[in-house]
Structures are given as structure tokens and as C-alpha cells.
């Protein structure tokens, strides 16, 4: 990380300011203790560094037992959603300088999902909800010999919800999901929205039926936590409202 930065900015007066920052990380290791604890790490960081860079520095130079997920490290894979200073963000998209590095920055696993170790949570309940609303194209009749055509307007109808990367930042920011984890959660509804409003898909009423569950869209309280948490800027609450509206027009 910083190696490339230094290479890219070859002694250009060394303009990137560096500072020390304290990360207060929520540690949990079931092999050691059933209780999670806070641990502070102080690292040297540059103004261009992200939370993920600081975590890397800790893991590589300081404490190799620190456990977290990350794959692409560029905001596309959705592996490193975590609760940073009390808000769900992607560690790879959050610059240290944007979360007030003067004070210790708290880093916790996302809430509402069982913690496996440190910042790694069991995503299975989240993916179970996702699978339940059938995230694949459903059609009838013979398969066309060419592509399935769709007008740009029809494509635009669900464009926003195609951007989801399944990082679980939205679902694990939802207070209704925190209570008992039975709620389908914003992410599942967003991905259902992506198919319900797809003109090529014919499984719309099946999906609406699934989300009409007691734990479906009707548990949404429009607190907008999901919309604020989404690192892709999806208007999650709006998508949920559109699904609700589709259900009401179907029922009456």
C-alpha cells in the first residue's frame, strides 16, 4: 500500500502528511474467551490511507492474529464491511482523515450477525435471506435463440438496485434486524427489487409473495439506516417502499 504511494510520488517534497492514529478494535477469539474486548493499536498512517490500510499495517507489522475479511480492497467485492465509529462502512472506501483520526477510531464487526472471530462474522443468515427471494431470472416458455431484449427505459427502472455488492452493511445497520435477525433485511429486498422490476423476469409475484412474509417488507420502519450505510449509494429505503407499493397494488 504505502510502498506504491511512495513510488508514485517520488520525493515530490513528500507532500502526503503522515500522522499517528489509534484504532480501537473489537477483538473476539472464541478459543481464548467468550467475551469480546477492545484493543487499541497505534499506527503511523498517511493522509491518503484508508481504514483497511491501517488494519493491514496492524496485521502485517504488529499483531498477526487480527482477523478480518477483504478481497479486492477497492470497494467492489463487499468483503470488508465493518462498523467504523459506529457506522457501517467499507474499510477499503473509508479514508482515515474522514473519520477524525485525532480520536481513537472504533472498528467493530457489523452488528446482528454471529461473530466468528474479531471482525469476521458468519454471513450465512444474511445469504439465507438472499437465497430465499430467488436471486435468478425466472421465465416461462422456450428460451429465445437470441438475447432477451430490453429497452433502455425498462433497464433504467431497476438500475439502482443492480449495484448491490452484498456486503451486508445495510442489513446489519437495521435496528429491526438487530432484534432477532428474523427480518429478511434490506439487502434481500433490494435484490428482489432488482428482479421484480425487471421487464424480462416473470417471477415477480412469487417474489412478492415471499416478501409478504411477516418478516418481510412490512417490518421496514423507514429509518433510512440502510440508505445511509450503503457504500454503493443505493437508495435502499426507496427500493423497499417500491416493493411495498407493488404489493399493495397487487392486493387491491
Amino acid at each position: 500500500m504505502t510502498a506504491t504511494l511512495e513510488a508514485d510520488a517520488p520525493s515530490a517534497a513528500g507532500e502526503i502528511p503522515s500522522f499517528t492514529v489509534t484504532l480501537r478494535v473489537r477483538r473476539f477469539n472464541p478459543e481464548v474467551s467468550d467475551e469480546a474486548t477492545w484493543q487499541d493499536f497505534t499506527v503511523e498512517a498517511h493522509g491518503t490511507d484508508r481504514i483497511l490500510d491501517a488494519l493491514h499495517k496492524i496485521k502485517w507489522d504488529d499483531d498477526g492474529s487480527l482477523t478480518f475479511r477483504r478481497s479486492c480492497a477497492h470497494g467492489v467485492c463487499g468483503s470488508d464491511a465493518m462498523r467504523i465509529n459506529g457506522r457501517n462502512r467499507l474499510a477499503c472506501k473509508t479514508l482515515l482523515k474522514d473519520v477524525n483520526p485525532d480520536k481513537p477510531i472504533t472498528v467493530e464487526p457489523i452488528k446482528g450477525l454471529p461473530v466468528v472471530k474479531d471482525l469476521v462474522v458468519d454471513m450465512e443468515p444474511f445469504f439465507a435471506s438472499y437465497r430465499e427471494m430467488m436471486p435468478f431470472l425466472i421465465t416461462s416458455g422456450n428460451e429465445p435463440s437470441r438475447e432477451r431484449y430490453q429497452s433502455p427505459e425498462d433497464r433504467a427502472r431497476f438500475d439502482d438496485t443492480t449495484k448491490c455488492i452484498l456486503c451486508a452493511a445495510c442489513t446489519s445497520s437495521c435496528p429491526v434486524f438487530w432484534t432477532d435477525g428474523q427480518y429478511f433485511g434490506p439487502a434481500a429486498i433490494v435484490n428482489a427489487h432488482r428482479f421484480i422490476f425487471d421487464s424480462r423476469d416473470e417471477g415477480g409475484s412469487q417474489r412478492l409473495e415471499i416478501l409478504n412474509d411477516k418478516e418481510g417488507v412490512w417490518r421496514c420502519r423507514t429509518t433510512f439506516n440502510c440508505t445511509e450505510a450503503c457504500p454503493r449509494g443505493i437508495e435502499v429505503t426507496k427500493a423497499i417502499q417500491e416493493v411495498k407499493r407493488a404489493m399493495i397494488t397487487r392486493a387491491f
Binding site: P104, P114, T179, Q182, W218
Partner: protein, 154 residues
């Protein structure tokens, strides 16, 4: 670890895995959601109409006494108005609290007890209120005439 650990230490312990319970499909939650919106709008009219008639028209708040209430409940319009207000407000409120209980109770036992108490309170208030509106005697015998409504001739 010296600064502020106490302030941030209060975070839930990691919890055990869970499984989704059986699916519960049906339009109940849909109708309840629509009812909340519809009854909310109707209640707005009913309550502000009620407040306007009781507090602003004529002598306003100073006119309210036994005779005033008795006079209102002698008219079928106000009987229906108040009955509707009672029922809609109670169902709307109870449904709202039911939702809150569902959201905040983490254990099924707590949820069941709280909802049981809620429905009991609902039943008592609705039955009592309905009974009062329909069995109310505007001219109780033996009461001093100056306290009663003008149409009481006893």
C-alpha cells in the same frame, strides 16, 4: 486502553448462530400496514373535529360540563363520531404498540406476555367505552336541573 474504554465497552457479546423460523405468509401484515395509514388520516379529521367542537365553538372550553357531554351523546351523529374515534384510535394505537413489541422484544416469552397485556387493555377500554356511549343516560333522575342538558324535562 486508558481512555474511554468504559464508554465504549457496552457492546453486545457476540451471539450464537440462529435459524430462520417457519415462513409466515399471508396478507395480515399488509392489511395492518394499510389500515395504519387509512385510520391515521380518518383519525386526523375525527380528532381535530372533536377538539374544534369541544374547545373552540361557542363558549369553548368553559362550556364543558355534564350537560354539554350529555347533550352531545344524545345525538346519533356524536355517538357515531365518538364510537368511530374510540375504535379507530384503539385499534390504531394497539397495532402500533404491537409493532413496537415485535421490534424490541427479543424473547418469545416476553413478546407473548407484553402482547397479552396489550390486548387485555385494548379489550377493557373498547368494551367499557362502547358500553358508555350506548348506555349513557343524559338525564339521570334526581339530579339538579342546572347541571343537566336543556332537553331534560324531569
Amino acid at each position: 486502553m486508558t481512555h474511554g474504554t468504559a464508554a465504549v465497552a457496552k457492546v453486545d457479546s457476540p451471539r450464537s448462530p440462529y435459524v430462520r423460523r417457519k415462513t409466515t405468509r399471508g396478507n395480515y401484515e399488509l392489511y395492518s400496514w394499510v389500515f395504519m395509514r387509512a385510520s391515521g388520516v380518518v383519525l386526523l379529521v375525527l380528532i381535530f373535529g372533536h377538539l374544534f367542537v369541544n374547545l373552540l365553538v361557542g363558549d369553548g372550553v368553559h362550556a364543558i360540563d355534564f350537560g354539554f357531554v350529555a347533550g352531545k351523546w344524545a345525538s346519533p351523529l356524536w355517538q357515531v363520531w365518538d364510537l368511530l374515534m374510540l375504535w379507530l384510535a384503539m385499534i390504531h394505537g394497539t397495532n402500533g404498540v404491537r409493532t413496537i413489541i415485535n421490534d424490541y422484544a427479543t424473547k418469545d416469552a416476553t413478546r407473548g406476555i407484553l402482547k397479552g397485556l396489550l390486548y387485555l387493555a385494548f379489550a377493557v377500554v373498547v368494551v367499557l367505552g362502547t358500553l358508555v356511549i350506548f348506555t349513557f343516560d343524559p338525564c339521570p333522575p334526581g339530579a339538579p336541573a342546572e347541571l343537566l342538558a336543556s332537553f331534560c324535562t324531569a
